[in-house]
Symmetry: D2
Amino acid sequence: MPTNLHEEETIKQLANFWANNLPFNNLIGLKVSKFDSKTSEIRFLWQDKLMGNPLQKTLHGGVTASALDFAGGVVVAANMIEQLEHKTTEAIQKSLSCLGTIDLRTDYLRPGRGEEFIATAHIIRSGNKVAVARMELHNEKGDHIAFGTGTYLVG
Amino acid sequence: MPTNLHEEETIKQLANFWANNLPFNNLIGLKVSKFDSKTSEIRFLWQDKLMGNPLQKTLHGGVTASALDFAGGVVVAANMIEQLEHKTTEAIQKSLSCLGTIDLRTDYLRPGRGEEFIATAHIIRSGNKVAVARMELHNEKGDHIAFGTGTYLVG
Amino acid sequence: MPTNLHEEETIKQLANFWANNLPFNNLIGLKVSKFDSKTSEIRFLWQDKLMGNPLQKTLHGGVTASALDFAGGVVVAANMIEQLEHKTTEAIQKSLSCLGTIDLRTDYLRPGRGEEFIATAHIIRSGNKVAVARMELHNEKGDHIAFGTGTYLVG
Amino acid sequence: MPTNLHEEETIKQLANFWANNLPFNNLIGLKVSKFDSKTSEIRFLWQDKLMGNPLQKTLHGGVTASALDFAGGVVVAANMIEQLEHKTTEAIQKSLSCLGTIDLRTDYLRPGRGEEFIATAHIIRSGNKVAVARMELHNEKGDHIAFGTGTYLVG
């Protein structure tokens, strides 16, 4: 089915774009591991350069915020694309160029310690002007490190 | 006056600590340019690696959040130290080891474009358990890029 | 000048509408005391029924949130109307029927004690889809009771 | 077992206190329907006086914020009490007199329409200085109206 082929193609292109073209995400090591129009998952490994305070050997709060913001942005982007009537590369690029974070709240629950970190997001409000996502950060042992809520400008 | 000397010494030590010992701040290039017990100022230069989306050539939202969180943390730390009866190195270190961000809200007002960025913070609530700071990010032309509010665990 | 006459008329109608037609605001006693397209001011008097906990004899946190949300909504509404090309009653009503709060953050700084309370708001982001306002609550002595930030859907 | 009897007694007293002694909650009609140390549930009925804008016939955003703040406060209070070594009336009152909301974020997802509203809360961070709860508001049909996050000062 051509439509599905296109969608698969689209998804591959998006995943590729997110993997290779975002300098600050690359600096931190954020990788999109899963996404659909409702949820997303981002993973990254501990690196010493991500430390906030070396006395505590924990993630900088800004790393946590960056990962949550990106996870929210990915699911919002996928949701925007799903709603496009014609999923051409041009329509997708035009749509994504409007996407921006309006506000982001991060709740830090536990010190950011671990070997790998997993940020997940799901859509809680999906509109034609604004979308809202809720996010969580866990480490590889399942310790819950942070919650986030992001409001995004779309379309 | 010994007390003042000690305080000056303390401030130098703190500024030094903040300048040299915080890996993720160094990665981004955040530098404490001013602080006292009520306000703080952090500066950093544009670098391509801080870009979120290269199509827009703007700061990643996580960089903005990192700078605001750090500016808030610096003023809260200075405020905690001012309230210490004995400003010994031990007392200061003990005090700072309790400092942590509880939650952070960032409001993105304009695309993060510029050559230099200035994050400022001031204390809006100062207690013996919790402190709250409000922050702003501007570029070198005075464009107002973001607002933030951070709640910090102290003491 | 007809346009200015119309604007004055519009402003009177708006102030009237806000004063008389909003049941929950009336229940609390919120009154719009000033507004233009950049700032607004809401006032209300202490009443025992506004108490959260009678042991502390302070405003319920929800009263504070209600006043801040309304102050933000008023300035956002005034800002929307200013941007309308034709300020007819129909255009204004259509415009206002789209206005809604997307999210609201309230920072409680001091116990809500006083005889009169003044909520002020100013616009920090003004767009054709989303507007953001910052708010403050003081009592009649100038004690600063709360800060707020609201993101509103417009247009 | 005396301890359990005491706890049952405590819980009855608390529920009683919350039902009868909080003026603004009574004005809105908020009733605690369930609580333990991890979760709480608050219910209230639609009343015309709770309307924000009569053109839309929906809850005022401040009513939603009030219900979410109260649901969060109830679960945080129950959690504080569970951690008390001696659950005497004096210890409980002393403990509760310290409880206060530091900050509250409300995300409005859908217009607040319905006959009955149910606010639920669960603890996401439980400490000896600060607790954090996440809240939701649904109507009697299960429509999800709002999300909230509250940070509370405890102990």
